[in-house]
Amino acid sequence: MSAAATSASNSVERQQMSVDIVGIGFGPAMGGFLTTLSRNLLKQDGTPRFESAAAPGLPLQVICYERADGLAFGVSGAVTRARGIRASFPDVDLAQIPMAIPVGNEKLMYLLDPIGASRRSLGFRVADRIIRMLASAARRYDHAVELPFTPPFMQKSDGMIFSLGQFNQWVSEQVTSSGLIQLWPGMPASEPLTEGNAVKGIRLADQGVRLDGAPGEGFMPGMDVHAALTVVADGPVGAVGRQLDSRFGLPENHHQREWALGMKVVVELREDSGLETGTVLHTLGFPEPEIFGFLYVHPDRLASVGIFIPSWMRSPVRTAYRYLQHFMLHPYLWKHLQGGTLKSWGAKSLQESGRHGEPLLAGDGYARIGEGSGSTNVLAGSGVDEAWTTGVQLAEAVIELLEQKKPFTRENLEQAYVRRRRQSWVEAESRIAADSRNGFQYGVLPGMIGMAIAGLTRGRISLPDKSRPPCACTLSLEDVYGSRVPASELQEMQEDCALRGASLHDRIMDRCGWPDIPFDGRLLISHQDALLMGGSVQAPPGYSNHVIFVRPQLCESCEPKLCVEMCSGQAITRGEGGVPSFDREKCVYCGACLWNCRAGADREHGNVQFRAGAGGLHSAQN
């Protein structure tokens, strides 16, 4: 937002509204919170159990705002043990939720590189050679081997495969059918309302503004929604949560430096795909050693297929979309996927610092739940169930405080909510997982060994934490590709791409032997087609740009521009003078630009601000 726009925003008269509880962000955590809360708002005779303080005479006023224009927008794997979810719905067969199915056959696969273009360390190359020698005698060899067992800490064999979009949609139907809670999609919240150290509610985003945030035609200042309790569940890149972190800081020694970008497609498989419903495949080794992948088979011949690009992958060439296509084309997977049709596509940043990334969970007038509250278990690779459970815990705490007529102060919320969380399985398992990924700062193999040690010793032994901000970990092109491509040629490529406004990853990957993608118009399609065929990118008019390059002069000399290379929707491109250009009509809200910026004066935070905005990718099947 420009200085003039900021001034106008601060001085304008705004509508005011008071409710008792306002929530921001509708995902699994908010689903757990509202599901539990809504079941406890009426007495047995059907009369309200709690009277509203904001609107005396009425029942408790609970309202939740969500940025996306629908509630079926989530993007996730998602395979989960669903312990918390099942506890909330003990009498419900969760398989009735569209696209949900119990986990059946679960495998951990090591994928070799059938192309020879992958950046494999000596250890991987030796392992590959041995595997190939042993496998050469086998009649069927798909450049993959099944590892003898899936480590217990990774297993989801008693769990469920979900589509997060369908799960969220189903939960929203349960919640709103009570008539006691209002859910409003398409309504981003721009900031928390604070007084001193207390949160007093949220400010909704201004509408009718220009891209720079200045008032435009039909200017409608965002309403201030005051509430005794603000429940923040806007995820790892949410505007409200991040501003709370900025204002109140993180607890001592906590950091949010570990991230990953998850990108997935939902594929309608051909009839004879050979994949059984309920199959869960975890993969490692390809397309790059640092990239983990998955394939989950839903009912009705649908499969979720995706990869994770971790922040500790040091290569500046890190395009998730092209890597995802090479992943699907791996012979072990392609034999199942060939002939399939892309039904949906999506991407999302995952906050992978786990317990180390936990913010202040509660303060005067607010509480944090879900992924943005550091609930993801980074050892098990599980976030949905943990997020759900933290929402349930907060709802139980809120009911307890309402019954005791206690205010939502920091002390009361810590006693009622944080205490519950600390005593739960979510906390116990997050402590085991806390340092499990430290090894990845040393490399892929040390990382996997470190995870195994931490998992098998229940967190008692782990490698030391050497974490650094993601942007500080990234190596230069010469460091990564210097052994394959002469430095002068790399320089030439970089300059040529800068001149043509093109991204660098395709040039480098082509040069290093990655083959062209054989587009078939059904499953293998261009990146821009994925935005069109994989859902619908919504960018309602009248909102400002939500991706801001704070100090453009810092971007001018930044090379390679990871924000461009990593952008999931190709919404960030090279602009004039070296400053990236942002097109909000292509932004899928993955948030990768936030943690892939190397240009910030403060490397912990980068030069990109990811603000509140409406819309994003909308697909019900992700």
Binding site: P98, E173, Q182, G186, Q207, H618
Partner: protein
Amino acid sequence: MSNVYHIIVCAGIVPDPLQTLEPLTTPAGPALKNESMLPAVLDPWAGHALYEASHLAAHAAGSKVWLVNAAPKAKLQQVMMNVAQKASFELVPVDTPANGFSDAHAVAGVLAAAIQSIAGLDRSRLLLFGGWESASRGAGVTMQLVGEQLGIVDQFQGVDQITIQADGSFEVLERVEGGRHMASVCQGPPALLGWATGNLPEPRNNPQIGMANMRSVMPALQKAKTAALPQDMVRYLSVTPPTQQRQTRIVKDRPSDEIAAELLEWIVED
């Protein structure tokens, strides 16, 4: 006569076309594959009608808008989360398995019955709005049938504009052949207007409107009357999706003449 209107907007819901919709045959007749999984939206024609109604009511003090919506209740509840932020109305929900393959006569009967049950409705002030092609796969008959069942003889279809005159009459612009409008003047209500797209943009989401609407919408949904639709009024011999092609490229700084020439070539090939 003062310009105070009782505006009823008839609406159905449709799946949000996030992906290519695939028709299939079920024991209950034609349906769309995975329709239950897709989010629903107010059908676009009816959405425009609602925004026009809201705009008209806002400029005619004392006027009121009812939204009569025939759809499965669970989906309707979901649709209200979006629509109720945009315009003030009183919801009259009818819980019925109506979809794009339902018979227009049957749907019209359900809508007419719901309208007749509205308490306090003043027929002398009644403007019946709806989408001109809603709930009939583009045939444009449903609203006409609703009007006939209610005995409303002044009917306009493909409406893009209504202008209220000082004497209480109003001018209506209807779409006709050749991209032109036919202008008619109607003495006053009751009248039926089947809307095309109108001229108004989609209103912004307004949280205060949403909050006010929901206080009546949720109780109305919980008390929604159910209505069955006869299954034997129409028989489909076959249903096929429209053919479509998509080729996407990013092209920068290309002259518009070249783009037009390429499009022409592509159309000729097709």
